[in-house]
């Protein structure tokens, strides 16, 4: 049975838009892993805290954009504090230590949010409403704007890493931590900065995605699960690979939903994860290892 062309086009747009949001979530995760070798299990909770702080600041100021910037900064500071108090003593040890530590942090943050904000979901109002006609659908402009903003934030990160002094320090630390330290780069501060940037990016995605969902203490779970798949498929620590993988996986799921039930469509990304781990564990979007 043929699928109408308009449905394929709609799913293509859906896939790219969702992929860009996912890329923003995953890029923070991959940045932290690539530079610090830390698998941050608390990333979803930083996403969630960003959204909650967005709710609070939006209620106080009435301005979505102020809420977005302030939530990003507050969670970046929180990320720096988490690094200093929890991760710094564990850097360089077996990765299991940092996995357990970030898992512990995730439980603390999740239950803190439940205690502080309560179990009832909150709303972040969109900064603007409006739709355009896309075949038989009204498609919201806001989703397009989120995708563009995500692209802009990731682009900004790339420029920062490429040309900024701190960006150069970060790249140097990634390549050889000991040599970087020998050359006078303040590696502990760089690592703290990286964790803060990754946390801030999670918070920004939480605020941007907030208007599409209810803000609650478990809102990060679904996104962070997918973000982990993206990080593995894209190549651990590979920023460009993560972006490509995010769009690739979102497109696959969107197209799959044309042929199979939604529950089966979700399985596609897990199948891809297993196949990647079996046949190309370095990731699909990295050059073949020599």
């Amino acid at each position: 049975m043929g699928i109408p062309v308009e449905q394929i086009l709609i799913q293509t747009i859906n896939g790219v838009v969702t992929g860009m949001i996912l890329a923003l979530v995953a890029s923070g995760l991959t940045l932290i892993f690539g530079i610090m070798d830390v698998v941050n299990f608390a990333h979803g909770e930083l996403f969630m805290l960003g959204a909650y702080i967005g709710v609070v600041i939006l209620a106080a100021t009435g301005d979505f954009w102020i809420a977005l910037i302030a939530a990003t900064l507050v969670v970046a500071l929180l990320g720096a504090a988490i690094y200093l108090t929890t991760l710094r003593p564990l850097i360089g040890r077996d990765p299991l230590y940092t996995i357990l530590a970030t898992f512990g942090v995730s439980l603390v943050l999740q239950n803190y949010a439940l205690w502080q904000f309560g179990p009832v979901a909150r709303k972040i109002a969109e900064p603007f409403t409006g739709q355009f006609t896309l075949f038989y659908l009204d498609y919201p402009w806001y989703r397009i704007v989120i995708a563009l903003l995500s692209a802009a934030i990731i682009g900004g990160l790339w420029l920062f890493l490429k040309f900024g002094t701190w960006g150069i320090w970060i790249r140097a630390t990634t390549q050889d931590r000991v040599m970087a330290q020998a050359m006078g780069i303040p590696v502990p501060w760089v690592l703290m900065g990286v964790f803060a940037i990754g946390s801030g990016m999670a918070a920004a995605s939480g605020v941007l995605f907030g208007p599409l969902v209810g803000v609650n203490h478990v809102m990060g779970l679904d996104w962070v699960l997918k973000a982990f798949i993206v990080v593995v498929v894209g190549g651990m620590g590979n920023l460009a690979g993560s972006i490509a993988a995010a769009i690739f996986i979102s497109l696959l799921e969107a197209y799959a939903s044309l042929w199979v039930s939604p529950a089966q469509a979700v399985i596609v990304s897990f199948v891809l994860l297993i196949l990647t781990l079996l046949f190309r564990p370095t990731g699909l979007f990295v050059p073949t290892p020599k």
Partner: protein, 418 residues
Amino acid sequence: MGRTITRRRALRWGAAGFGAAAVVHGPWRAVFAEAKPYKLGTGQPLTGVAAYGGKTSLVGVQMAVDRINKSGGINGRPLELVIADDQSKPDTGRRAAEKLATEDGIDFHVGGFLSNICIACTPVWEEHKIVNMIGVCLDTTLTTSKCSRYTFRTFDFAPAQAKAFAPYLVKQIGKKWHMVYADYSWGQSTRDAYTADIKANGGEVVGSTGIPLGTADTTSFLSRIGGDFDGLFLILFGSDAINVVNQGSDLGLTKKYRLAGDGAVATATQLPAMGNKIEGFVGIDRYLPVFDPPLDTPALHSFFDDAVPRLKKVDPSAPLPDRYVQSNFEAVNALKLGVEKSGFQSRADTPKLIEALEGLTMKEGPDFPTGDKVLRKEDHQAFMRELIYIIKDGTYHLQQAVPYEQTIVPAACKFESA
């Protein structure tokens, strides 16, 4: 630092501890003297994805327990509440139920929010011969194909709601429907019940879309929905309901089609997160936190007034009471009637308690503010008044109250012999 613990100091601390205990348990001791309390276990999702419902459910249980203890307990014995957190996970829920039954030695249980957890725990209550009053779980099979002699549901279920709601859907809104449902046990059984009743009333279900639990971005699923039908019928709860309503509205689905659905979509605790995107939704529920006639009763006001400050302690946004508070509150009160009627003393009397609960009639009043109801003997399923409402200006407006007699459906349960 450096202070040694002398015998005198230890005695002083001990006396202070006893004093504090006497103050804490003072009212109980005064009323009940040395009466051994009944142990009421309650398993609720206090953390995890369903915490929003577990926390409000617990408020309902606590309200009922406090009222019972203030008025002299049951058979002169106080109720002692033993709380367990199932963490919104079936395996944890089952372990928590085992602990309540064995280590805590509960006499009976009230609770359960997620249907998959209720289903997972049913064998535990059977094995330990403990009466289980369901608090929220709505999966139809709990009182049909998976019914249990030890389990009772003192509130409505999908076949009864569908019988009450389908005539309204078909005659007042439209004949052709598309179902959007939570793709798990409750959603599937509710979808089947509504599909049958819409068809029986001359309508038609032209399509259905299952949403996997916990899906944050449902757009790729919702954007496939289109075509010639009158209404979208939503069978969702929690964050899934919020996501589908928000994202469906963004895609213009609520402009094209009328929106209706199960009351779980638009409980009082869900409304704030949906804003004006839920406007025009037509739903059915057993309890609404409004006082449109015939809901303007002293019992409903009293229930509301007790619940509101308690909910404010649970959530700073001060949500209004919802069906989860109500059904847990009334489940404990139904249990109280059964215990009084049977003279239940310990778990050895469970058969007598079951007998007392089977066919129990509950009369509208402070214990059962939502009205008269009956707990059917054949399947342990209650039938109660259903409220059809529309959401306008962010609140519920009652459209029709369907008496419980018009919601009764044939029993479909065969208990295994004891």
